[in-house]
Amino acid sequence: MELVLIQILNGLQYGLLIFLAASGLTLVFGILGIINLSHGSFYMLGAYLSLTLTSLTGDIFLTLLLGVPLAFLFGMLVEWLFVRHLYGRDHLQQVLLTFALILIFNDLQRMIWGTRPHSVPIPSYLKASIQLSDVLSYPVYRLAVAGVCVVLVFCMIYVIQYTRIGQMIRAGESNREMVEVLGVDSRLLYRFVFAAGVALAAAAGTIAAPIDSVYPGIGEPVLITSFVVVVIGGIGSIKGAFFGALLIGLADAFGKVFLPEFASVMVYALMAAVLVVRPGGLFGRV
């Protein structure tokens, strides 16, 4: 059935985008042990960077190349200023501080960019759309977004599994003291990981901006969905976040069409169901 196939496409595309946003959250939580409520703000940062930089560079991919390093630097700054004081502390303190960051970032956003929704242009070479049925077309840019997400998934797997820095990250999260004794500066390592999380969220916000519109509070639904993904996938598991995000994407797409009465609770019902069967999440350790 045509509608089912189109919904699978929609679900996968949406899921990949959620994954990009959620991967940073699960990475920071898994390795630093920090519950980062301000993660949605970094998605918002990406969206607004996309707005400003695209008006300067004129191309969303140039913006991505420029904006992600900027977000990375910003992440290092935030880690140095605030987050590094939270390692090993009570999670309540982490929640308080990162929640405060949300309020600060929201106000900064309003001061700098105002409250009107803005739109970011889709590059002309991706403006086309593919005819799916006699009246419905699918914008090529959405496929490009999915493509970028897939590329980033492979980059992440490669970095974590096969590079020296990935090795240090994995070692650091299982035994910080031992890694330090072996001569690795774990402070730098943690700063790198946090900044990478920020950069991933910002990357998601940046490439989603042309299909979304850019408006205040854009990151908050993303934060909540990301938490659901992290819980479904298993805390700290990138692989879990990946499959969790795809599940959420599909549940959302099908829920809206086939169970419209339950669409708003669909993803939470899915989360509850997963937790009943696998309390640690799909790929988590309990």
């Binding site: 509608l3 929609n10 929640f99 309003r110 739109s119 692989k239 959302d252 797409a253 640690g280 350790r285």
Partner: protein, 400 residues
């Protein structure tokens, strides 16, 4: 690839994450200056979230009106007490109570969201504070729950729906799919539309709803494409509307299934959607190019003050102040005379940028409705659908 081994149990994690996420919506009330003299006007409006720009537009117009009057109405200074409603109904009772009892406002205005309005007007009715609803279109406020001290400077959802349904019948449309957020405002806009549309011989094939405030529409667009109606009647607002129009155009649906809606679909987001919104037809009680002197003067003044042209929300804020001004003049600035103030506002009749403005017996505006078409980021006036059109007064005791 599980890469985590932390001491935190998942249960704690979920609890903390949940607590954090839900506290996102805590009220961030700002303390108001305690001053005895000025008339205090409370503004319960969204300054954050998807409706933030609507709250700002209303506030700016109200401030502009006051500025033009030299900061005073009927010889008394006026002070605005702003509170962020966050468009969140669960917090509305607490926030309204804060304005009414904490700040002791003399006049209550706002909000944008109908759910917030329901809680706000409930308190207003009990406390007797003269109240002007500056946007929220919940039908009940000027139907079943109408009250002598509650007025509206905006519209009722049903009223806009009724007018849009009429315009679509006039355009020869025979069947349509409706699409909106699943919340009261959306349902009432659809019900009003259904009323005149079906009475005019049209057929509603399907009602599609998405959870508020979701902005992921692809799934619903696929469904519309599979139904292939003659037109889609749709209501979204703010950032959600911008995204919906763009998604609708990107799916190439606009070519074969024209998009219609109440004017809120396009107002305030014209520039954000740009050419993607070309051809979207909407009906509203205001259009940028309404041809009267008040509108021209208002637009020029607003543009000069804020660098952008006003939208319908700004007009509603402006008229809230015009209405209040009429009331205050009648009592010579003495806000303690609530009954006289209310009576004067109920009889108010003045020239608004939207055309003639007066109130029905249930205190909802009797006003013109305009058909507009979006062209390259501008809502262009096509024609006046209906002049001095009142809403139904179903169940209002004032109407009896």
């Amino acid at each position: 690839m599980p890469i985590s081994e932390t001491g935190l149990s998942r249960r704690t994690f979920i609890a903390l994450a949940g607590a954090g996420a839900s506290s996102l919506a805590l009220p961030f009330a700002r303390p108001a200056l305690a001053q005895a003299q000025p008339i205090k006007v409370g503004l319960l409006l969204p300054y954050s979230g998807t409706y933030a720009q609507l709250g700002e537009a209303i506030t700016r117009a109200m401030e502009l009106y006051l500025k033009q009057q030299g900061g005073k109405l009927s010889g008394r200074a006026v002070e605005f007490v702003r509170l962020d409603s966050e468009a969140s109904p669960p917090k509305a009772t607490e926030l309204t109570t804060k304005l009414v009892q904490g700040d002791k406002v003399d006049i209550l205005t706002g909000p944008v969201h109908s759910g917030v309005a329901m809680a706000m007007t409930k308190i207003a009715r009990e406390a007797g504070v003269p109240t002007i609803v500056t946007n929220a279109g919940a039908d009940q406020i000027t139907r079943q729950l109408c009250a002598k001290n509650v007025f509206r400077s905006s519209f009722s959802n049903g009223q806009v729906g009724l007018a849009t349904g009429k315009a679509m019948v006039d355009a020869g449309i025979k069947n349509a799919v409706t699409m909106t957020w699943k919340y009261a405002a959306g349902e009432q806009m659809v019900n009003g539309f259904r009323d005149t549309f079906t009475k005019g011989g049209g057929k509603v094939i399907k009602d599609i709803t998405v959870p508020f405030p979701t902005v992921e529409f692809q799934a619903a667009l696929a469904e519309i494409a599979s139904i292939k109606p003659q037109a889609v009647y749709s209501f979204f607002a703010g950032g959600g509307a911008a995204k919906f129009i763009k998604d609708y155009a990107a799916a190439n649906l606009q070519a074969s299934i024209p998009l219609w809606g109440p004017g809120f679909l396009t107002d305030g987001v014209e520039k954000a959607v740009g050419a993607a919104g070309n051809g979207v037809k909407t009906v509203l009680h205001y259009s940028d190019d309404v041809d009267n002197a008040e509108n021209k003067a208002f637009r020029a003044a607003f543009k000069e003050a804020y660098g952008i042209y006003p939208d319908v929300y700004a007009v509603q804020g402006w008229d809230a102040m015009q209405l209040l001004d009429v009331g205050l003049k009648a009592v010579n600035g003495d806000v303690a005379k609530r009954d006289e103030l209310d009576a004067a506002m109920a009889k108010a009749s003045f020239k608004s940028p939207r055309g003639p403005f007066r109130l029905s017996v249930s205190h909802n505006p009797i006003q013109n409705f305009y058909l507009r078409e979006l062209k390259d980021g501008n809502n262009v006036l096509v024609k006046t659908v209906v002049k001095e059109f009142p809403d139904l007064t179903t169940g209002c005791r004032l109407a009896a």
